[in-house]
Subunit: 244 residues, 2 copies
């Protein structure tokens, strides 16, 4: 193991921050490091929008489920899938952008996620901590209007960043053997899954001092048993991302 791998394995979401601000230089350094992530056919289908204006933060806080970290983080970056520049390239060379294929949604969503993970790691390597905020998709259209996003640009998640004012333990992941398959997909190992459930139950009990006792499968079963942001299909359609 080396320093980088140690850093990756130490990751946990940080939701409380000291008052220390993050310099603009650091933001530029970590976003630039982000850009060196691989990009599908060189499209670089992403934009990052810094939102630090207080009234904008208040809106985002309300829209994304009232997580205090959205209000309080020294920095809040919104990551967007962005094919607007590709469309511009088409215009300037008299070709026609093949809008609407869901493949574009995958390309742009993967591109921006790879960048974001680089940004997270670069930030953590500098002593910062953060948490992704998928909750901005609760009100994707309002976020989009607030940020003035054109067609072909959609907000995928936010990232709160700051100097950590908490030190939570890392959250146990599914056992490696359930994730890593050989040559073909292995059916679910029920014994391993039960053991994981027990592990998570005691993890929550310890971390919440007995207030929450829940297995992983119960948490998933409850989460998945309801409509999941049903407005997103129309929103992505409108943004020219998933019509065909």
């Amino acid at each position: 193991m080396n320093q980088t791998i140690e850093l990756l394995k130490k990751h946990r979401s940080i939701r409380k921050y000291t008052d220390k601000t993050i310099s603009k230089e650091i933001i530029e350094t970590i976003v630039e490091a982000g850009q060196y992530a691989s990009t599908s056919s060189y499209v670089q289908a992403y934009s990052v929008i810094r939102v630090n204006d207080k009234s904008n933060r208040e809106k985002l806080y309300t829209w994304s489920g009232e997580q205090k970290n959205v209000l309080n983080a020294p920095e809040f970056l919104i990551f967007c899938a962005d094919l607007n520049r590709v469309q511009e390239a088409c215009l300037s060379h008299d070709t026609h952008m093949s809008d609407g294929f869901i493949e574009w949604l995958l390309i742009a969503s993967v591109d921006v996620s790879l960048v974001a993970q680089n940004v997270m790691i670069a930030a953590e390597s500098l002593g910062l901590g953060g948490v992704y905020v998928g909750g901005i998709r609760n009100e994707a259209e309002k976020v989009s209007e607030m940020l003035n996003l054109p067609d072909r640009v959609y907000p995928i998640f936010g990232l709160c960043l700051g100097y950590p004012d908490q030190d939570p333990e890392t959250k146990p992941r599914l056992p490696l053997q359930m994730i890593l398959h050989e040559e073909s997909y292995q059916v679910i190992d029920q014994v391993a899954l039960s053991e994981y459930d027990e592990l998570i139950e005691s993890y929550y009990e310890r971390r919440t001092k007995g207030k929450l006792i829940q297995t992983w499968t119960k948490q998933m079963a409850d989460k998945a048993d309801r409509e999941n942001r049903p407005h997103m299909m129309r929103f992505l359609n409108d943004k020219k991302y998933a019509n065909r």
Copy 2:
């Protein structure tokens, strides 16, 4: 700048590898490091399938556009978005998985991308090099059959890994000021875009010794002006990922 950020900024795709094999221990180390990436509501919606069987590699090589690296890489990992375990959790707790929302496609695709980028970085930190292969989506259904993927599991990209037998320069990214916006989306800076086009033109000319002279916008305009994997919508629909 520190070692980790230097590592991120040194990234370039590696498509030629020495004969040196990668130990199973290293694969396990980097995939486990991958798992510590953030995951939306703890769903851990991903699986990684090692494909090293020669005849399977030959199929993947044909399907994904005949890139030699798919045949020759010491390791080929296929990253899958995976909600099969969540569905299993629903079954075991008598709840009902809310299949088909495109939001699930985003959740799982982001989850697996964050993991993959951690795996890439962990690999690079150990002296390995690699390249993502989105080309497996050319034949998503055949890949899915070969790997025995159940409903709610879809292959998003492959990752070739090996010890580098080439040392290409890094590919210049869009200027930071075009990617990083303040408070709201800035319109495209045409001057910056033209300068970038010139930079890329000379980059290709230098790298290909004059064989390819092309700007970024021209490359994008040509790429975007055609149907983009039009089979993907039906495939994702069948996998219960994008029906509503």
